[in-house]
């Protein structure tokens, strides 16, 4: 069985420019890496992850690239850990307004 079926919502990856093809005024670190692209769309044929595939994007563009994800989720949030420093700010400011330390 393949990882993804025709019609599945997927994300693909493409190298737009290899490091040696890059141009312009780039810092040294960026010159060493390729210009990469990701886009989502509906898979045009059954395929496995890492296969070269073809998709149709939401605007109907046909794009080719490496299959990297099926039903990709949104992976960000409010941080992996609470930032306790934030707590100090509100307490300090409310204190100043209530007439405590103001310098």
């Amino acid at each position: 069985m393949s990882d993804a079926k025709k019609g599945d919502w997927v994300q693909i990856h493409e190298i737009v420019l290899k490091p040696e093809e890059r141009t312009g005024k780039l810092p040294e670190d960026t010159k060493k890496v390729p210009l990469e692209l990701w886009v989502k769309g509906f898979l045009n044929h059954d395929a496995n992850l890492n296969d070269m595939v073809e998709i149709t994007t939401l605007t109907g563009r046909i794009v080719k690239g490496e299959l990297v994800s099926v039903n990709p989720r949104y992976e960000y949030g409010f941080g992996e850990e609470y930032v306790p420093e934030i707590l100090k700010i509100g307490r300090q400011l409310r204190g100043i307004l209530k007439g405590g330390d103001n310098k």
């Binding site: 737009v16 420019l17 093809e21 890059r22 141009t23 312009g24 005024k25 780039l26 810092p27 670190d29 960026t30 060493k32 890496v33 390729p34 210009l35 990469e36 692209l37 990701w38 886009v39 989502k40 769309g41 994007t57 939401l58 605007t59 563009r61 949104y74 992976e75 960000y76 949030g77 409010f78 941080g79 992996e80 850990e81 609470y82 930032v83 420093e85 934030i86 100090k88 700010i89 509100g90 300090q92 400011l93 409310r94 100043i96 307004l97 103001n102 310098k103």
Partner: protein, 472 residues
């Protein structure tokens, strides 16, 4: 026949692609030298302020509330010398349909795209503008593609940009994401050429005309609430459109004595095209990495002549630190009950510093807020910064080093006014303008133009030109 899609071939077709994608010919405004007819270019949108307002009402843009931040003003007065502490007001632009003032900027472009018969719109943006274009396109039944610079070479994405990807996709847009680098423009051109869609550029005349209503509303609301124009309007400055449009709107409202001041987050030392520095900054816009190059070389944007010309209108340029903006964002939540995105509070932070120097009877208007949420909340940003090796601590913000640490002020009184060197920026602008025009002779028309474009007198411009070897 298939077009040659190699990098050089596409870049060589740049002007042709742009002309088709913008529906206008910029060459008619050129003088052949440094000067071009900026005001004619702006008039040729064909829309007056009331037309723009009508277009914006159709999609629920504008007419946002102007709110007085009484507790924040009181806080300023507690930490300032007696008699100091200007009143701070904020224009709550987060109330626009997609959550920022960028709806104003997108509204006219998308309207025009529809009117001219384009099937869709494309914009190159990693910020709120993408959501705004997606939202306006949804309302006007147009397809939409947003091209983002999003990831570093490890495929680690800025949480704020990832949130913008989600928002654009949820509004029905297609999002194309790239790693760091200015060659994004190549991908952008290819998409314009492939689709035949409209380039909803941030820097087109339509984009700027859309922001004029913001300045106009501020003047009108101030007159209604306090009976006069504000003394100062602070605008976050990046590409220059926010400040330019707002200033033009204030002038159109007759608020000619209101000072317009720009504010940016100081990211000195971080290279904007650096793969490793990309995720070591907590602000993806509103910072000096855009603010300085766009003010000093506005015409390097994605249109032949940018309608965003900040130095024409900016009377002062204040720099704030990343830690200060996070601190003030928290202050806005805790003291005013308003949770708003950090980047939009850049101008509020500058206003907080400036208010400490101005008398109590002065009025400062901060001209925007933006929505907040997962990815673009201080918790998300600070947590991400820590994970990428940036130290977060309390201390004196003057000691903040972008990319190395984020210093939350130990006390609000440490948030102080810091002026950028506007004189130096104006000279740099003149140098770039001369270089771009590639001329050996400078006409009187060019001098007049430069005076207007840097808001300086003849003496200043002549002296700058003399330093460049032009003996006039």
């Amino acid at each position: 026949m298939m077009a040659d899609i190699s990098f050089n071939a596409v870049m060589n077709r740049k002007n042709e692609i742009m002309k088709k994608a913008l529906g206008m010919d910029y060459s008619i405004y050129e003088s052949g030298g440094i000067a071009f007819d900026y005001e004619k270019m702006m008039r040729d949108t064909g829309f007056g302020l009331s037309d723009v307002m009508k277009i914006q009402r159709e999609t629920g843009v504008g007419n946002t509330p102007l709110l007085e931040l009484k507790n924040l003003t009181e806080l300023v007065r507690r930490i300032s010398p007696k008699g100091k502490g200007a009143r701070i007001f904020v224009k709550d632009e987060a109330c626009n349909p997609s959550g920022s003032f960028k709806d104003r900027r997108a509204s006219v472009s998308v309207y025009i795209a529809k009117k001219l018969g384009y099937k869709g719109v494309v914009a190159a943006t990693s910020g709120n503008y993408g959501a705004a274009v997606a939202s306006q396109a949804a309302m006007r039944n147009l397809d939409c593609i947003i091209v983002q610079e999003c990831y570093d070479s490890r495929k680690i994405g800025q949480p704020e940009i990832l949130e913008k990807q989600r928002k654009c996709e949820c509004l029905g847009a297609e999002v194309v994401q790239l790693t760091v680098g200015p060659e994004l423009f190549y991908t952008f051109l290819r998409i314009l050429e492939d689709t035949g869609y409209f380039n909803a550029s941030l820097y087109s005349t339509f984009g700027i005309a859309g922001v004029e209503t913001l300045g106009y509303e501020i003047a009108m609301q101030c007159r209604e609430m306090i009976g006069r124009d504000p003394d100062v309007v602070v605008a976050t400055h990046a590409g220059g459109g926010n400040l330019t449009g707002t200033a033009r709107g204030l002038i159109k409202a007759g608020a000619v004595n209101t000072k317009v001041i720009g504010a940016s987050v100081d990211l000195k030392g971080l290279h904007m095209a650096s793969d490793t520095a990309f995720n070591r900054k907590s602000f993806t816009t509103g910072h000096t990495g855009f603010g300085v190059p766009y003010a000093t070389d506005p015409d390097h944007s994605d249109v032949p002549r940018s309608a965003a010309r900040a130095l024409r209108y900016m009377e002062d340029y204040l720099l704030v630190k990343q830690g200060e903006v996070f601190y003030i964002t928290e202050a806005l939540s805790q003291l005013e009950g308003m949770e708003r995105g950090p980047a939009g509070n850049t101008s509020l932070t500058a206003a907080f510093a400036l208010a400490q120097q101005l008398n109590e009877d002065k009025i400062i208007v901060v001209q925007e807020t933006e929505y907040t949420g997962a990815g673009k909340h201080p918790l998300a940003q600070l947590s991400f910064a820590k994970k990428n090796g940036v130290e977060v601590k309390f201390g004196n913000p003057d000691e903040e080093i972008p990319g190395t640490n984020i210093i939350l002020p130990e006390h609000p009184s440490l948030i102080k006014v810091r002026h950028a060197d506007l004189g130096k920026m104006k000279k740099s602008y003149i140098k770039n303008a001369v270089k771009r025009a590639n001329v050996s002779l400078i006409s009187d028309k060019d001098i007049e133009f430069l005076m207007q474009d840097v808001k300086e007198d003849r003496k200043f411009v002549l002296s700058a030109l003399n330093e460049l070897g032009f003996n006039i």
